[in-house]
């Protein structure tokens, strides 16, 4: 029944009211002439409403004359009438068609690449390799053979154990599993010494292979040999056994940094005046919507971006970018001596900490302060560390 109703809607029909004395005769003639009628309802005596197809309605005039009935249209329903209403509005129809077309075209591109599952491989590296294989924002998705791309990705990046590329809507989802690389073998046949990487005081020496040249408490400078790879053989001073030295040499090292802090500092402060710019980003081009002049001398700028997407997976190449400008003024602020010391020590410590290599244990930081006649405070921070200073150096020529 629903399908029939839908079919009638597509074909179009009219609801008419028929008035007259011989309504039964009217119906009978209609059926005899193969005109389909439905939903015939009596409206008191001598009047009825009924539904009739457009073609049937065109054949109604002689029947109405024959039976002395008057026919009037109450309502027109169905798609043909809707279409005829929009026939004159060509631009509207063109716009609707264009919209559907554009939506189709825009959704046949890839607009974002989502990479999940990588821990040690950088996302940027994967993105670059994917782009080389044709998977990047702006590429036509029908041209991408995901199996082929996955295969070449496996070849391109060694650390990959498994990769899957699926295209969902306008998003390319890349899932990755990383491989655990086998540990590097120690090349025992390659003779080497162990030398100091930097200056320090030796704390402990543990030799697994080789001949120790230093002992705990010795001060070493950068480049000094710590463990020799050539072991003298007792009794035969001329010949030496050449080995690949393996040892862990821990030493105390120091990292220094200083920082000067003025007790009078200028600080930025927001005045409360602000301005907002909204612009639309199309592909990579930015279009300003309501350009206003910024009348602030000094200001902070905060930018927020909102990407337009349909249902999460369908990311469109549009974004709304809002720029907020906050007017700022400079306020002179005086610090107390303690505050200045604290600030100087903190910044110096942070700077020194950047120099400390990974794997070094921080033993203790030492801070010294100096004041000059202008009221400026200088902090010297020394961080004492315990770290592995041994580094392999090949024994050349042998």
């Amino acid at each position: 029944m629903l399908i029939l109703r839908l079919w009638n809607y597509i074909r179009g029909y009219v609801i008419i009211i028929v008035k007259g004395y011989f309504l039964e005769k009217f119906i009978n003639i209609c059926t005899r002439r193969q005109i389909l009628l439905w939903d015939i309802k009596m409206r008191g005596s001598g009047a009825m409403t009924l539904k009739i197809s457009i073609n049937g309605f065109k054949m109604l005039r002689p029947i109405a004359r024959k039976t002395n009935c008057s026919v009037r249209i109450v309502q027109k329903k169905g798609l043909p009438f809707i279409f005829s209403r929009y026939k004159r509005r060509k631009a509207f129809v063109a716009g609707a068609v264009l919209f559907v077309f554009l939506l189709y075209v825009l959704t046949s591109f890839i607009w974002s690449v989502e990479i999940t599952g990588n821990e040690s491989i950088e996302t940027g590296v994967i993105e670059k390799k994917l782009a080389e294989n044709g998977v990047k924002a702006g590429k036509l998705k029908y041209n991408i053979d995901t199996d082929r791309v996955a295969n070449s990705m496996m070849l391109a990046i060694d650390e990959l154990r498994w990769i899957s590329i699926t295209i969902k809507g306008t998003k390319a989802k890349v899932q990755i599993a990383e491989r655990v690389l086998p540990p590097e073998l120690v090349p025992m046949d390659q003779p080497c010494n162990i030398v100091a990487r930097r200056d320090g005081v030796v704390n402990s020496v543990v030799v697994k292979e080789g001949y120790a040249m230093v002992k705990p408490g010795d001060t070493v400078i950068k480049g000094q040999m710590l463990v020799s790879g050539s072991i003298p053989i007792k009794g035969e001073e001329e010949r030496k056994r050449i080995v690949h030295a393996i040892a862990s040499v821990e030493a105390r090292t120091w990292y220094e940094e200083s920082c000067e802090v003025k007790t009078k500092i200028t600080e930025k402060k927001r005045t409360g005046n602000e301005l907002e710019h909204t612009s639309i980003e199309l592909f990579t081009k930015r279009i300003k919507l309501f350009p206003k002049k910024i009348e602030f001398d000094k200001y902070d700028k905060i930018e927020t971006e909102k990407r337009v997407s349909l249902g999460g997976d369908l990311v469109l190449p549009f974004a709304i970018v809002t720029e907020r400008f906050y007017e700022t003024t400079e306020v002179v602020k005086e610090l107390s001596l303690d505050e200045a010391k604290q600030l100087a020590a903190d910044t110096a410590y942070q700077k020194a900490l950047e120099k400390v290599p990974d794997g070094a244990k921080i033993v203790k930081p030492i801070a010294k302060f100096k004041e000059d006649e202008n009221g400026n405070v200088t902090a010297h921070v020394t961080i004492e560390c315990l770290e592995e200073i041994g580094i392999e150096e090949k024994i050349g020529g042998e």
């Binding site: 039964e24 119906i27 059926t31 005899r32 439905w38 015939i40 009825m48």
Partner: protein, 102 residues
Amino acid sequence: MGRKKQRKSKKEKKEVNLKEKITEVLELPKEIVLNVPKLTIMGNRDIIIENYKGIVEYEESRVRINTAIGIIKITGSKLTIREITSEDIMVIGDIIALEFLR
């Protein structure tokens, strides 16, 4: 005259009987071969009459339909003709009675 008519009707009756028998033996659809209406009634809501001849009367409380076996009278309330073609008619509404008039 009277006699003749009687005879004729007897002959017709025989023919009908023969037709009926043939259709029964061959399992042909009766409503087409015998030209009798086929009524389908669903509860007291809707009634479909196939192989009818025409509408005699149509009102909200009464519909009379002409068929080969006579007039079928449907009485009830809020009767509407849901669909009508040259072969079948579907009447819906609260049906109270269904009568066969000769």
